[in-house]
Amino acid sequence: MDRLTRIVSLATAALLALALSSCAPVRINSYLERGVDFQQYRTYAWGPADGLSTGDPRLDNNRFFSERVERAVNQQLVARGFEKRESGAADVLIHMHARINQRIESDAIDREYARCDVSDCRPFVYDAGTLLLDFIDTRTNQLAWRGWAEGSFDGAIDDQDWMEARIDDAVAKILARLPRDTSRSR
């Protein structure tokens, strides 16, 4: 391969990697404890870090990741009428947990959409990320609400700008599911 071909193919790879992220949509889910009236919560605080491994040494004890999540959550909650307090004086404590797993996909998509022949049906591997936010009622010490996002995080850790954009996006989508009647806040 000559140099120009190499450069062109590297650029193509980069573009493809970017395009790829739009192919793997983020899946958002949430869970509300039965009988919990979420409207009663007005103040929140951050719970202590869980100290669990994220499954990826690049993210363990990485405040560039965890503080970005906190920042994004703070912005979303303030916009929804919550007030941040020091722990001990809040209605809910928030815990976050992040996990990275490598996933293997076989040729299912190729078979379905591209009708590939055997040599074209390629397995692929990617880093999948899960970001989970727990809201604990400080009076009952019970989980009141849990929301999470799952999706491809492939290549995101190695690119700080992109990682931050992915975090902001995931947090916004998770917290959009909070059972919050915004007309009643403030």
Partner: protein, 182 residues
């Protein structure tokens, strides 16, 4: 439907390209921080994660090589190792781990490839080594920079020459990303 086809095509091509597993190096940094305020460094206490691989943990050769490579890179950027009686501006600690990872590798046997030279690919499992280097502001006790290098350690752990070259390459490439002290 057309978009889905495109996506499927993108996925196939993208992952074929990523299959060439070379060393991955990158970093995170505190934005807007003036790194020229830091002049001296020292080694910090190891982090609390007990996840290091025992093959690296007890390996004096590995630790000497990593610390030597980092000290060389810091010196090249104008940092000085602080005297034992003095408080350094930054502390450095590092963490090495080995994880099982998967990759897609193409069969290079041309008999199985079609006329466009597209060869069958399969998933392989390999051992990836990750070296994470943290630089912490001594005064604020906050992480200001983290660099890492990740790559296959196949045939590396039991070969001192290869191990030394891998460490040197990883540390050199990650410190090339450190904001310059003036």
């Amino acid at each position: 439907m057309g978009r889905r086809l495109l996506c499927a095509a993108v996925m196939m091509t993208g992952f074929v390209v990523s299959a060439c597993a070379t060393m991955q190096v990158s970093s995170h940094v505190e934005r807007g921080l003036d790194f020229s305020q830091y002049r001296t460094f020292d080694w910090g206490p190891p982090d609390k994660l007990p996840l290091s691989d025992p093959r690296l943990d007890r390996d004096r050769f590995f630790r000497d090589e990593v610390e030597g490579a980092i000290e060389k890179q810091m010196a090249a950027r104008g940092f000085e190792r602080s005297a034992t009686s003095q408080t350094p501006d930054v502390r450095i600690h590092y963490h090495a781990s080995i994880n099982q990872r998967f990759d897609v590798r193409e069969e290079s046997n041309s008999a199985n490839c079609d006329h466009d030279d597209v060869c069958p690919a399969r998933v392989i499992e390999y051992e990836a080594g990750t070296l994470v280097v943290d630089i912490v502001d001594q005064r604020t006790d906050r992480l200001i920079w983290r660099g890492w290098a990740q790559g296959s350690v196949e045939g590396v752990l039991d070969n001192k020459g290869r191990l030394r070259r891998k460490i040197d390459e990883g540390v050199t490439r990650m410190f090339a990303r450190l904001p310059r002290a003036q």
